[in-house]
Symmetry: C2
DNA sequence: CGTTCTTCGTTGCAAACGCAACCACTATTG
DNA sequence: CAATAGTGGTTGCGTTTGCAACGAAGAACG
């Protein structure tokens, strides 16, 4: 079999994964004590709740893309830290609705400057219109991938 | 304090992390049994070795962005599976050089079609020139972030 | 209604992870 | 060339993770 030509640097799978990890890691370093005890799963959950408070636990599972058990225990942890509360949905008692506490909402204001500072440094000197297109493409990919997750295409 | 306006969908940290995870997850599903027993850390290591065989273990630590212990044990696992070999570098006996076995190289050919199929589906209908710009921006970010990792800027 | 099927959250378990302490080897300095 | 500092890899420990089995609540069907 011929050698497969494949350069990961040309692959969006590789690039998004590595850049994502590096950015998270950079922001985490900047934040230092501000994120004491907050793991990447916790951050993922928080970001979702910052977008929309009161999500169902199941929404977080599909959004953060981790196991339900993992999310359950991460929420348990966040609840202990006083960052979120979990309430049974009385309209459908199977669901639990997750709400940020004041402390949880405050964390957003704490994290934001670190994230902005990191992005500014990394993107310095990049043509803004190219960055805009990059975001646009990623947003479209994100949308399509999450939709696919909801309605998986049966094997053909 | 005023409410912080922040939409994660505008943030490259959020987008790269989520899209990266979703793509990996999609490819993993497609690959099925082909990646039996291969975790994300393993895949990260393999991709690096596919780019350049015979890397030092330390190179993998900084590239995959995981703890040295984690990489050490992942390599131990891959070695047991007969996918890589580890040899002490006689030029500097502190280093260990990691080489793909034939089985390890073969995995590249196995994974590639899954990755390509996934990307094709996700990017269907996207303007190619926009995708190209997206990759270009990510590549630049990747380069800058890894360089920063090697030569961290002292706190100012 | 009662039975069955599905969805959502929890829990037990083994594997993987990050952190820190450690050992082996090399480089640097006097 | 001896003493010290620095780099690379391993190992122990507590925590997190994914998987699978389970239980509780609602939906669908007769």
């Amino acid at each position: 079999m011929a050698e497969q030509p494949y350069n990961p640097l040309d692959s969006l799978v590789f690039l998004t994964n590595r850049v994502g990890r590096l950015l998270s890691s950079d922001i985490r370093k900047r934040a230092g004590d501000d994120v004491e005890g907050l793991y990447s799963t916790h951050m993922g959950i928080l970001v979702d709740l910052w977008m929309q408070d009161g999500l169902r636990q199941q929404d977080l599972v599909s959004s953060v893309i981790k196991d339900k058990g993992t999310i359950a225990r991460a929420l348990e942890n966040l609840e202990k830290q006083g960052i979120v509360t979990r309430e049974t949905d009385e309209a459908d008692r199977r669901n639990k609705l997750i709400y940020l506490t004041q402390k949880g909402r405050k964390l957003k204001a704490v994290m934001l400057p670190h994230a902005l500072a990191s992005m500014e440094e990394v993107l310095e000197g990049f043509p803004p219109e190219e960055v805009a297109i990059c975001k646009k493409v990623l947003r479209r990919m994100y949308k399509r991938l999450t939709q696919k997750l909801m309605h998986p295409v049966p094997a053909t």
